[in-house]
Amino acid sequence: MSSPALPHDAGDAPQTRGPTRTPAFEKRLAQRYRAERNFRRIGLGAVVFSVAVLVFLLGNMLMNGVAGFQRAELAVTIDFAQSGVTGDPVSLAAPSAVQTLEMQGLPDVVTFFAEEQLGKDAAAEIAPEGWRDVAAALTADPDLITRSQTFYLPTTSALAGALQGEGPAELRALAQKLSDQGKLGRNWDWGFLARSDATSPQSVGIWGALKGSMLTMLVTLVLAFPIGVLSALYLEEYAPRGRWTDIIEVSISNLAAVPSIIFGLLGLSVFLALFPNLRSAPLIGGMTLALMTMPVIVISGRNAIKAVPPSIRDGALAIGASPVQVVFHHVLPLALPGMLTGTIIGMARALGETAPLLLIGMRIFVATPPEGFASPATVLPMQIFLWSDEIDRGFVERTSAAIIVLLVFLLTMNGLAIYLRNKFEKRW
């Protein structure tokens, strides 16, 4: 034997071992346990910190946002029988009914009753568009023209601010007085979800931006998902291994890291050049965001496809399936959960993007919800940005409310995708 004798092979008889728990051993053991405990604690601390930050942010949002779902309203009772406004069910059902009512002087009627019940100063603080709520109620229920009803009309933002203790002293006094009389209060404002952008925070709504986001997301999904999935399939299954494929792979990975505003530049120079009259349309916005989302889908798609075990492919090939059949009958169903996850991530990012849409002009003031993919629209994050820029104090709460709507939309979208993913995973 040329090797030095180890403690074990000196002689053939089994060595009797010394005691295991020597002092040195005990010290090492204690050190080890301590290190483990510390590591666990640090990890737990990190998790707790993250959760705390999340809770703080969300809590903050919720607290501010709840106020955004309310608005200051003045109570005015209008007796239509005595108002001098006439109408019958037929004319009230017509599309031009609101204009007809306006021509009949409905706004003045409202002002008249308001002055009578609240005083001239208070009546002047009813929002200029407040009469439209009355008109809407009339067209919805033509029978109302024979009765009287109490309406809660939005105030100007000045009075709303005064109600919360801001603004000139006399306005605040007025607000206090009206509030004590029970004529002025902050009420739950469901109309926020049905209206669109406006100049006064009392009259704004989020529906315009919400619909704009939905349309844009739809365009993004319809463009990015098929192109992304098919690209991923091609790159993984068919592309020959070689220099060109490598270059394409690297390019796509880099695309995913490009700052989003660059895509806006691209949208501006290419898409708007092609469709100059579709500025700020969901179609253009969707196309721009699709460019941004597609690399994410391709990357996650490729990983999902790579994760399909080769034994499945072999099994399918061996039974005589053509390459296309192998891909669509076997690989794609198994890779779909992973692809959907990547799509969720990509779409969530696209939902929250503002920069690229800035450049293609979706930062406009849109007072009515978009009618289709080609109408001017704005999206939720853009709306939040625009409102946060406003001077009027009332917009602060509305912005928080809009953020809550955005978060709920995001959660719904994710929830839907997760549901789809689980459904596919179970089936296969």
Binding site: P240, R241, P309, S311, I312, R313, D314, G315, A316, L317, A318, I319, G320, A321, S322, Q325, H329, H330, L334, W428
Partner: protein, 262 residues
């Protein structure tokens, strides 16, 4: 220098290979192998690890095509037709030459779907009634029908290892092949499941030409009637199983089967 036993030459070959070489890049994995596979017998390929037997087996249904770096030269004929010829559709070839793999790989679908998939894509049966017949027949021939007939909608991956392998065999049978290639079909199974697979091979051997790669010499001795011994990419000896295992001609064969190799 390949030794072929005298009683081997007078048979009509189902698969004939002539001077087949397989290269992985620059490395030669199979070196000028020629062999006639009989339609009536089970043929076993034996040899130490890395000798190329699995690689050679995969030539018969052109599965080496799926490996980019692999190149196959030489002639391989199925019933006299060159399988690399322009008239041979590789998809059709793989329906005629089925394969069962070492690790059972049922599709993550129901048992019924696993079996029905092949006939459906090849147009052998389309209506549900026809597919039912094919499924029952294949599962019966694979010895699995009684065990699964009440749960055809269960997932194929929920079966035990041995059952999964029989499911894969049933799947291969469902497309009515002429040859079944088996690449170490029982190596991942326990002795009882292995015995069932071997019994199944026995029953199938009358109907299909079977070529089995195995690293267990005892298994080769039990199931096959013809055995070919491979070593370092060459075929060293090919003869009747009883001769190979009682009185092999080549020294290398003898060393391998008596456990003197390495």
């Amino acid at each position: 220098m390949t030794v072929i036993h005298p009683k081997m030459t007078d048979q009509s070959a189902k698969i004939r290979a002539q001077d087949v070489c397989v290269y992985y890049g620059d490395k030669k994995a199979i070196d000028h192998v020629s062999i006639d596979i009989s339609p009536n017998y089970v043929t076993a390929f034996i040899g130490p690890s890395g000798c190329g037997k699995s690689t050679f087996l995969r030539c018969f249904n052109r599965m080496n095509d799926t490996i980019g770096a692999a190149k196959v030269t030489g002639l391989i004929e199925l019933d006299g037709e060159d399988i690399h010829g322009s008239r041979m559709d590789v998809v059709q070839l793989r329906a005629r030459v089925g394969m069962v793999f070492q690790k059972p790989n049922p599709f993550p679908k129901s048992i019924y779907e696993n079996i029905a998939y092949g006939p459906r894509i090849h147009g052998l049966a389309e209506k549900k009634a026809d597919l039912d017949v094919v499924v029952e027949r294949s599962l019966t021939r694979a010895g699995l029908w009684d065990e699964v007939k009440d749960r055809l909608e269960d997932s194929g991956t929920a079966l035990s290892g041995g059952q999964q392998q029989r499911l894969c065999i049933a799947r291969a049978i469902a497309v009515d092949p002429e040859v079944i290639l088996m690449d170490e079909p029982a190596s991942a199974l326990d002795p009882i499941a292995t015995a069932k697979i071997e019994e199944l091979i026995d029953e199938l051997s009358g109907r299909y030409a079977i070529v089995i790669v195995t690293h267990s010499m005892q298994q080769a001795a039990r199931v096959s009637q013809r055995t070919a011994f491979f070593h370092l990419g060459k075929m060293v000896e090919y003869g009747p199983t009883s001769e190979i295992f009682t009185n092999p001609i080549e020294e290398r064969t003898k060393d391998y089967i008596t456990g003197r190799y390495g």
